[in-house]
């Protein structure tokens, strides 16, 4: 009787320890992953809060009777380096393809964004929206000359 109780207790004890170990291992891995994700989220929020850029100048020059080319200079007056490939340019609400003279827009530096073959005649007014990779948007209006 005495040995049976000891054997049962030992078996259950070992099972409990193994189970506890398994749960702790999974919990540890998960908590580490969640912690890393939370850090990433905080970093993104900080980056967004520190992101600011200005549309410095807009040059819209007509190329044909009904189309024009757009050149926009933007200036990074925030403290986050922005990847220009992640920018989005919307003209009159429509997403347009663009080129930029730099790949990264560093703080206190300017970049030139060019969009070609936009529909519009001389004297027509248009709305421009530039959105950075982290979602900060700037708006401007311009007239084609």
């Amino acid at each position: 009787m005495g040995f049976s109780v000891t054997a049962a207790f030992a078996l259950l004890m070992i099972a409990c320890l193994v189970a506890f170990g398994a749960v702790m291992a999974v919990l540890d891995t998960n908590l580490k992953a969640i912690n890393a994700a939370e850090k990433q989220q905080t970093r993104l929020k900080l980056e967004k809060a520190n992101t600011d850029f200005q549309i410095v100048s807009i040059n819209a020059t007509n190329t044909t009777i009904s189309t024009y080319d757009l050149q926009v200079v933007i200036y990074n007056d925030g403290s986050t380096t922005l990847k220009t490939g992640d920018f989005s340019v919307l003209v009159d609400g429509v997403l347009e393809n663009f080129t930029c003279n730099v790949s990264y827009l560093f703080p206190l530096k300017s970049a030139l964004i060019s969009v070609t073959n936009l529909p519009g005649t001389v004297g027509s007014t248009h709305r421009l929206e530039i959105v950075s990779g982290n979602g900060v948007a700037k708006f401007a209006e311009y007239t084609v000359s």
Binding site: M1, F3, S4, V5, A7, A8, L11, L12, I14, A15, C16, V18, A19, A22, V23, V26, L27, T29, N30, L31, A33, I34, A36, A37, E38, Q40, Q41, L44, K48, K83, G85, D86, S88, L90, D92, G93, V94, L95, R127, E129, V131, G133, N134, G135, A137, F139
Partner: protein
């Protein structure tokens, strides 16, 4: 201690070991299920934390396009998180002014939106002139909304 008593002890010992082993196996199965649950929940929380997006349209200038014979409003969605997410009419929910838009009236490109990328959500619906609100909800519950005018 006779043979009978010894046999009784052995039988009792074997019975106790069997019961204890059964309990251990049951415990192992339950713990395995709990571990899997914790892992799944952890992955879900991790995805929630790393998924983020914005509707980047010019609120005063929502473009339209013709799909078949219907007119669709075009909304641009930008992935501002650090994880890619699926962008299909079955993985997102679109609501305009609180009304659910049927997935059959929603078309999207591309199917997977990578971080920094901008996708397109075309919504076939009829909107009266004035102000409206669109809300897009992703598969994991992360949502973004935009007030716009047509």
């Amino acid at each position: 201690m006779g043979f009978g008593e010894c046999a009784a002890h052995i039988i009792l010992f074997i019975a106790v070991v069997i019961v204890a082993s059964s309990l251990s196996v049951m415990m192992a199965t339950t713990v395995q299920k709990i571990s899997m649950g914790i892992e799944q929940q952890g992955n879900r929380v991790q995805k929630l934390l790393t998924t983020d997006f914005e509707i980047i349209n010019d609120p005063a200038n929502i473009p339209t396009k013709t799909i078949g014979t219907s007119t669709a409003y075009v909304f641009y969605v930008k992935n501002t998180g650090t994880d890619s997410f699926p962008l299909t009419n079955h993985t997102i929910t679109v609501m305009i002014d609180g009304s659910l838009i049927s997935p059959s009236n929603v078309t999207t490109t591309p199917a997977l939106l990578k971080p920094g990328q901008t996708g397109e959500v075309d919504v076939i619906t009829t909107l009266s002139a004035g102000d409206h609100t669109i809300r897009i909800v992703l598969y994991n519950g992360v949502s973004a909304s935009l007030e716009f005018t047509v």
